[in-house]
Symmetry: C2
Subunit: 148 residues, 2 copies
């Protein structure tokens, strides 16, 4: 006898959780050979796109609490992928930047994640994918309104 979850399947959140779990498992499998996880890849990507940003700015961009950024950057710095330079104008803050190895690692991992993304959305047309991203953005914004 099979168990039904039809009552839950009506809810966007349930479908989203199951889809996200599938994506997260696959992306972590994808990133493992590169020595990265979803969160470290995200941090690397944002630092690469915004060199000189502070830990507080990175925390804000990724919706991570400041204390948890410390360990994250510790890990990336120890791996030789990120540099903590002192900010010129504000001596409280660091200016984060990628090392040469950080840039290379990010470039390779980014290619792998693009392939992962294509795999996960193989059942969707190009228009479908764009539409999905728009709808996810709509849900995210609805949540921001609710939170205030």
């Amino acid at each position: 006898m099979s168990v039904s979850d039809a009552a839950l399947r009506r809810f966007t959140g349930y479908g989203m959780k199951r889809a996200f779990n599938a994506i997260q498992a696959d992306v972590n499998r994808t990133l493992k050979p590169h020595g990265l996880r979803m969160v470290t890849f995200s941090a690397l990507s944002v630092i690469g796109e915004n060199p000189g940003l502070s830990q507080a700015q990175l925390a804000d961009a990724l919706s991570i609490e400041r204390p948890n950024i410390v360990m994250l950057i510790d890990e990336l710095e120890a791996a030789g992928l990120v540099l903590r330079e002192r900010h010129a104008a504000d001596r409280r803050a660091y200016a984060l930047a990628l090392t040469g190895e950080g840039r290379r690692r990010l470039a390779r991992a980014d290619r792998a994640v693009r392939a992962h993304d294509a795999r996960m959305t193989a059942g969707l047309s190009t228009e479908d994918r764009a539409r999905l991203m728009e709808m996810l953005g709509s849900v995210e914004r609805a949540g921001e309104e609710a939170t205030g």
Copy 2:
């Protein structure tokens, strides 16, 4: 100066994580007055739809490991919402069922979660919502193929 996450916005997983975080925060806020969380609501819903199922079947339906189901049912049993009856044919297993209070609590929470879902998808048409659910299902199935 604002920090850009445009490089990550290309990825389905990033959009999905942000949308899911928004949904999870809102649904937990929604369920708190009912004494439930996302996972306890899900368990209640599946038990209500499949009375007599075992803990192992529930674990499989919700993709939760068996040991973690034990604490979950402990909590719902202590709250007087779920009963562990002995399975007639297999004395190793429990037959899970909702109490009267469990059914009432589920009915009320289900109404609240439907309102939450409508709120989170307020920016989408009825057809959009159906399309979103289909696409999430497509991503979930792509993940199952990848896992094997």
